[in-house]
């Protein structure tokens, strides 16, 4: 059971993911590290605005930033996103698998019921 620290971090993660620009930035970073200028290019917002988004993502632990010469490079970090999916995915998987099994059981029970009168008449 690993989740004691997870809920607090999840607030930051979900807050960070609530913004479409920040989601698009994460999408870009799945292809590899990028500079602020590269990340700002597809958007009609200024580099300082992108920097503010990067700070939010960094606080949520979704990216890390390093410096190379004069450029600051952003890297995607997968761990918090994994927690964010796990939060509901585990619950969903538990119940979906259970309910698929229940579908099969209900089908078997109904076949049994439908088959019973014939079974009795043979006796």
């Amino acid at each position: 059971m690993t989740a004691v620290a997870v809920p607090e971090r999840l607030d930051a993660v979900f807050g960070a993911l609530a913004d479409p620009t920040r989601r698009a930035i994460l999408g870009r970073l799945t292809h590899g590290e990028a500079t602020v200028a590269e990340l700002a290019a597809p958007f009609s917002v200024s580099q300082p605005a992108i920097s503010r988004h990067l700070k939010v993502l960094e606080r949520a632990g979704l990216i890390s930033r390093t410096r190379r010469a004069t450029a600051r490079l952003s890297h995607l970090r997968a761990e918090p996103l994994r927690d964010a999916t796990v939060w509901l995915a585990a619950y969903r998987e538990f119940w979906e698998e259970s309910y698929e099994r229940l579908d099969e059981l209900l089908e078997a029970l109904q076949e049994q019921e439908a088959g019973e009168p014939r079974g009795r008449s043979r006796r």
Binding site: R23, A89, A90, Y91
Partner: protein, 160 residues
């Protein structure tokens, strides 16, 4: 026979689910309340479910264990509140790995032209408790690892 809906709103210590089954209500209710049927479906396939006690009445207690081949066992127990019936059943739910963290679960069964809509409503002690129980309490139920990051990002970006 349909996709399960899950609702877990931020800031509300509650999880709602809804799922329709292609069977009449009486039969679905039996599958939820008869121990020999319940063990055949509740939980992922990799676990063997053993019911210790299942006293289906107001104030009655229940306890079951999910065990896997590797020797891991997860116990759960609770109490029924009010008379369980096809109109609904209310019970507390406590994972024995986190004593004192209790949810109150209500399950209702609504028949609609030979099919049955099962709705669950789980109320937790706090939003934090909900998030912890839903993520960690159910983690043992995961089939295989985690969803791939690319898939998640694909969905997030598609939802823009």
């Amino acid at each position: 026979m349909s996709d399960m809906q899950i609702t877990a709103e931020p800031g509300v210590p509650q999880v709602l689910t809804e799922r329709t089954f292609d069977a009449p209500r009486g039969l679905v209710y039996r599958a939820f309340t008869e121990p020999d049927l319940l063990v055949q479906w509740l939980g992922p396939r990799k676990y063997t479910m053993t019911i210790d006690r299942y006293d289906l009445r107001a104030g009655g207690t229940w306890r079951y264990v999910h065990a896997d081949d590797a020797g891991n066992a997860f116990g759960f127990h609770g109490v029924f509140h009010g008379d369980p019936s096809p109109d609904g059943m209310v019970q507390t739910f406590e994972f024995e790995g986190a004593p004192g963290h209790v949810s109150m679960d209500t399950v209702t069964f609504e028949e609609e032209v030979g099919r049955t809509i099962v709705r669950t409503n789980s109320v937790f002690q706090s939003v934090e408790a909900r998030d912890a129980m839903v993520s960690s309490g159910m983690e043992y139920g995961m089939k295989e690892g985690y969803e791939r990051l690319d898939d998640l990002l694909g969905k997030l970006i598609a939802n823009r």
